[in-house]
Symmetry: C2
Subunit: 336 residues, 2 copies
């Protein structure tokens, strides 16, 4: 009889926005699917981040604080018993553009270091990696209305370039048998909790979040700009689904364009009005900012999700539901 497999998980960027949610979800559900398709209990989650851990203590939780480009740290996090890695650590788009070397170090070198640590340890874990709409761009001048799985990447930012390179590395390390990689291209996440940030996509959360907090918000792009969105809760479900599916379902193509919701700021604000009332949606004003419009215009407004849906990845049904879930899950604690 085979020794029962215990799931031993590493989450890089464990203190980030998605990392904290994923850690909490995995601790709560307590299991992941093993290679044989059976649910197995998670007996260890190792988070790796530059900032100290904020989550409550749990006997299954091990936090490693340090620089993810340090090979010794990676070999401390990843051992031959590691069964799963969620590689979420990244320098975000705005910062990767201004701090070029930092972006190359974290988004490229750390990913390669992680892959090499897997190879050295012999762990051959399932590796779930978050990529981005930013790998796409006008390229040959012909980005189609709906991006297909066969559409060439053509990043217009260093962040998108580094994500596209990481995708190629993960695919090749998978082909070589060093890891079992699953690259998930995420749409723009909305509604993110917290504060506005310097990302060009910040408004895609701000035009909902700020009005719900009683504050004004500005939409800096044409109200009819096509946006491709995914809610945080569904993103976490996709990360776990990306881990749980059998390798054979993916075959040799390890990159999946996750389901998104194709919408516009006009439709988003209308949904906000329906869910929270017209006095809330009236807090959005429209002031176009050419700098932000130029960046947002290079992102795909939608991509074909046939493969992601066939693989069983969930998506969001409507922006009304996204707004409702944001209110329930993010504002509940403050209001009770």
């Amino acid at each position: 009889m085979e020794r029962p497999e215990h799931m031993r998980v590493v989450i890089t960027g464990g203190e980030g926005f998605l990392g904290r949610r994923l850690t909490a979800s995995l601790l709560r559900q307590g299991t992941l699917r093993a290679a044989d398709g059976q649910s197995q209990s998670i007996d260890r989650i190792t988070t790796v981040d530059v900032v100290p851990p904020s989550l409550q203590k749990d006997p299954r939780l091990v936090a490693i604080v340090g620089d993810i480009t340090d090979p010794a740290l990676l070999l401390r996090a990843i051992d031959p018993d590691t069964t799963a890695i969620f590689h979420l650590a990244a320098v975000v788009s705005g910062l990767a553009e201004t701090a070029f070397d930092l972006g190359m170090r974290i988004n490229l070198d750390a990913t390669r270091g992680l892959l090499d640590a897997c190879r050295t340890s012999g762990a051959r874990p399932r590796l779930v990696f978050t990529s981005s709409v930013a790998v796409y761009g006008p390229g040959a001048g012909l980005l189609p209305d709906t991006v297909l799985d066969t559409t060439a990447v053509a990043p217009m930012s260093s962040y998108g370039t580094q994500k596209a390179i990481a995708e190629l590395l993960i695919s090749d390390y998978t082909r070589k048998g060093f890891v079992d990689g699953r690259v998930l291209r995420l749409p723009t996440i909305s509604v993110r909790p917290g504060k506005p940030n310097a990302a060009a996509s910040s408004f895609a959360s701000g035009i909902v979040r700020e009005p719900l907090n009683g504050e004004p918000a500005i939409c800096p792009v044409d109200p009819d700009t096509r946006l491709w969105l995914l809610s945080p809760a569904t993103a976490i479900e996709c990360l776990i689904a990306g881990h749980d599916m059998p390798a054979a379902a993916l075959g040799s193509n390890r990159v999946v364009n996750l389901p998104g919701l194709s919408t516009t700021p006009r439709e988003m604000v209308a949904a906000l009005g329906r869910v929270a009332g017209p006095e809330v949606s009236r807090r959005v004003s429209w002031e176009r900012d050419p700098r932000i419009e130029r960046i947002v215009a290079t992102w795909p407004g939608a991509w074909d999700t046939t493969r992601a849906r066939a693989l069983g990845f969930p998506g969001d049904d409507s922006f009304d539901t996204i707004v409702r879930r944001y209110i329930d899950e993010e504002m509940g604690a403050e209001q009770t």
Copy 2:
């Protein structure tokens, strides 16, 4: 009045098959086009290779022998006056697959080191890079009969992966203004002079070269397999054209699928018979090798060349011409 610009050229892999030909061509023609579109004399060609130089002495020629991943060597080769780099150094496909670390070091790390040396030196040279059909593959299972500029890369080899990553780096370093990059994707080169090698594509030269040398040759793939070919002489013309064209002609898309000739082994051997006689073409025998057929089947049989042609890149008119040029240029010396 501006100081006249002198062209100072670096050729990596200068002792390789294309490197030696390019060096000889540039010494012979003596000029390259400068940023202002004017022909300027070449007053220095620095070759970088692991093997010592074989070319005859020329006062314009400087040979640096050493490891291209050595940053000190790169900074010796590239200085603020460097106007052009032809980056041809590479570990070939078969070797990159078996010697994974060597391939990563030469095909990826050395390219990044070269880009960083340009950035450090402040040279901002025109950088011509040779990429490959190997960046393409079945990917989503849908490689079209004719690959378009908008078709996604999906390498099925570590060599193709490393070339695709180098393309992304060169595009981003160009966007950032560190270099003025021109990525040229080469079809399979045929007819290569010399001996058969371990490349899966070796037969694409061997079925012409060996019969012309009076030796038998085996074609290991279906006679009607589509191949996408470029002659060595036209490849060199394309490298120089890739350097000479103004940056504005390329715009933000720095990757060009070079013109090729879509043909089949059956048509190639027929051309050989027309040019050299049926007693020569009868030296080819047909013995399919599943291992080679499997690899060759992942390569595109043709790609759309509209953009390359519009940019002025030359192509080969017919395989008959390729065979004639091979006989004239490669066999002439032996026969006189």
